[in-house]
Amino acid sequence: MRDKKYRFLSQPRRVVEDRRFVAGKGHYIADYDHADMAHVALMPCHLPAARIDAIDASAALAMPGVIDVVTGAELAAAIDPLMNGLDTPKVRRYPLAVGQVRYAGEWVCAVIAESRAIAEDAIEHIRLETTALPFVLDPEQALRDDSPPVHPDHNSNLLLDKKFVWGPVDDDFAAADHQLDFCVTWGRNSTVPIETFGVVAEWNAWAQMLDIRASVQMPKYADQIARALGLAGNQVRVHYDIDVGGSYGVKRGIKHAVLTGYLALKLHRPVRLIEDRLENMRAGDAHGPERKFDVSVAFDKDGTVRSMKMRALDNAGAYAGRAPFQLGKPIGAIVGPYRIGSVAYQAISVTTNKAAQEAVRGFGQAPTNYALETAMDRVAAFLDMDRLALRQHNLIKADEFPYLIPSGSTYDSGDYHTVIDKVMAAADYPRLVATCNQLRKDGMMAGIGIAACLEPSGGNASFEPLLNESNQTTTWMESCQINIDALGAVTARIHTTSSGQGHETLVSTVIGEILGIDPDSIRVVRPNSLESLPGNSPVGSRMAIMLGGAAARAAEKLKAKILAIAAHHLQCDAANIDYQGGAMLSANGRHITWGDIIELAHRQIHGLPDGMDPGLASFDIMQVPTGGDLPKDGKVHMYPCYSFEFHLVLVTFDPIIGKPEIRSYTIGHDCGTVINPAIVSGMTYGGIAHGIGAALLEEFAYDESGQLMTQSFLDYLMPSSHEVPDIQLVKHCTPSPHTVFGQKGSGESGYLGAPAAISSAINHAVAGLNISFDKLPIRMSVISDKIAAATQHRSDSE
């Protein structure tokens, strides 16, 4: 199937969703109106740690238009804590602070009023009495016994400390010619969508139904809301027809939905919570990983990297959330694209008095890739070897797939060397080197950065049982339903919101390809959660594989039924029918049209094969290919597919000013069979832009007193069109053997390697000064200061 030329798949086709968006006719959560709507604003506490002594809302409640003020204590008495995938029952999390504030900006009460403006005004009239408590911000310090526990009941800041040894690590280190150790730190950044999180909850007491509309990208959202509020699963109805204004992982919104749901139940009013930018940045609980890596690598004189030890310490912030599991996903690609024979990995997650972390694009993979690629650069420098040659020497070769890595995952396919060759040719590497040298001659700092890395895709959740034995999750299914109506039109149902991934285009293209009909004639709709089949939302680069897979399988079932009806009518074998979309022709020249089939299926059961049900409908609930096993001996197979990307960049900057300019950016990308080329290239460019932000600009930086310093777009800097250069995208296709068309994931592409590549370039530029940058983001001020110090030191010693 993969070898044939597709009619619609992989062809340049427009994205169905774009039409409504360019006209301003998307339907986002803030566009959802209701005549009787009540509005929520959230009161923060400004201390990083404090006991809540009293909240006096009487003056606020007396204001016209104020409906209610709800505190954490009221909530805690009425609802269950939010779900936590770890075994840490005393690390309780509620939508509002209960008894104690655990980070600066945390919400202590919710004000509900007739308008958002009134609610905000009322906050100024609430008296909050607190007693400041000791706090901790640094993760290493948080681990110490004398550190104040963020959750006193838990009596420690440790959420998770898992040690794995895969293969003969000690033997490999002992046998290796050399060893080197280093530490790098990934700063706390996030995806920061332009649309903040928002949710509207409506309780219908007559139907006993809670309707939720939200700007959300969260697996099992309805289940989690029902659990926390003590409702049955079929009393919560999440509507999936809300367009989400960007997410890239973070729009989980569980605390917001539980709070708003509680308020709707209590007040019998539709309640709306749309974060303002400050609420979002400071307390939306949507920061990404903040991770320190201590790495040791063992390698030989010829550049062979034998073994690696990695300690990853992640600062989860004040609550567990999904953060600890973001240390788990990278286990599925812990050696990157390299033949590293053994690995020791220690994953530590700690609480501190910073905002809670949420899933961010790549789920921890981009930081790990940054550490791995730094290791490759350091080994090359140590051996005085070319950085590219060292990588080529260690890369898994095309004929070695399927390739089992030490931690238990098997890589499906790849041709890393060819992708790199194509990139070197496309970027004209010798000319790039010449440009770099010329820039240096002209007095500029200039460096070439390279990064090779993997995008594990297909979104299995097997890191959950690996990190927590009592968690037995082994499926992460996705589903799709298709119906052909009595007029012959095809409608597919998908069971998720989308935040720009083009799922309607994905599904219509896949179904059109299999049924042989124009995808633009297929309508894709999003029912609510009660009308849906099981699914897990667009996380973990999984939708091309899983939603595309479920849609393809459902379409194949329909096609089989269509062929069976045709074979019965034409009195021939289904295998002999020439299926041509609109009309079926049999070998003997007789034919039956699409319209005839519809007529038979919908109106003439006497014309159908014996025992066949009427109608033309199908569904499919698809398990993750290759997934399903529980971990054994600290190992588990995680992802069905592994996409590959190779970044080659030239960065230059003035040694005094230190503002990096990306002079050239080429990426080679292999995500198997591409379903829609414009969607994949757009995601890759967007991922690179996000990676440039993580490498150079973006950080949720806290000062020593625990205050978030970057809480608006004026100080949390994101790449504009000036910071993102033109990008040369070199495509390659190594199909996956595990998916219906050979497709792999691409939703995290670009982001997974861009920070490593840019760090590599900047470090290459300053290598002659014997300095290095070991923490992201590498800000302009840090570059200029460090160069100034180094050159000062040099001139002092001359």
Binding site: G24, A30, I194, E195, G682, Y685, I727
Partner: protein, 166 residues
């Protein structure tokens, strides 16, 4: 206070608090939801509208300040010459190049593009880059947005651009 603003050629009158922004007036009073709130302090450009033909940030302007001005939102980006469901040349170029993903910044981008092409019908890629540098997009990395605006410029040239622009 009572104010009247000409939005997309229609007078919209309402009694509002003086603190209401033009953004909130457009969305909540005029009911035009294509203009989006992003950062709420003039950095991201998601709330871009045209005020007397020039791109401005509606989150930074009070509704009262806009009285007597003509406001154009994404809903009337091409005047009133097109039927619902019919895209302008710039909008069509954004679709052709897939110069968007989630669509949230897109109305602002389209209006920024319209303003640019009115002033400079044959921009270079660098000029396009400058023109959209005040509009933040987190999805696309801008590459396909710049492609879209270059394509729109080309098509507008080929079609004898009308006097009032795109």
């Amino acid at each position: 206070m009572n104010i009247t603003i000409d939005i997309n050629g229609k007078d919209v009158t309402a009694a509002i608090e003086p603190r209401v922004t033009l953004l909130d007036f457009v969305r909540d009073v005029a009911g035009l939801k294509g203009t989006h709130a992003g950062c709420e302090h003039g950095v991201c450009g998601a709330c871009t509208v045209l005020l007397d033909g020039e791109a401005v940030r509606s989150c930074l302007i009070l509704a009262a300040q806009a009285e007597g001005s003509q406001i154009t939102t994404i809903e009337a980006v091409d005047g009133t010459t097109r039927q619902p469901g019919e895209l302008s040349i710039i909008q069509d170029a954004f679709c052709e190049s897939h110069g968007l993903q989630c669509g949230y910044c897109t109305p602002g981008m389209v209006l920024a593009a319209k303003t640019l092409l009115q002033h400079n019908p044959t921009p270079s890629r660098e000029q396009v880059r400058d023109a959209i540098s005040g509009n933040i997009c987190r999805c696309t990395g801008y590459v396909q947005i710049i492609d879209a605006i270059m394509l729109a410029a080309e098509r507008l040239q080929g079609r004898n651009q009308p006097a009032d622009g795109a």
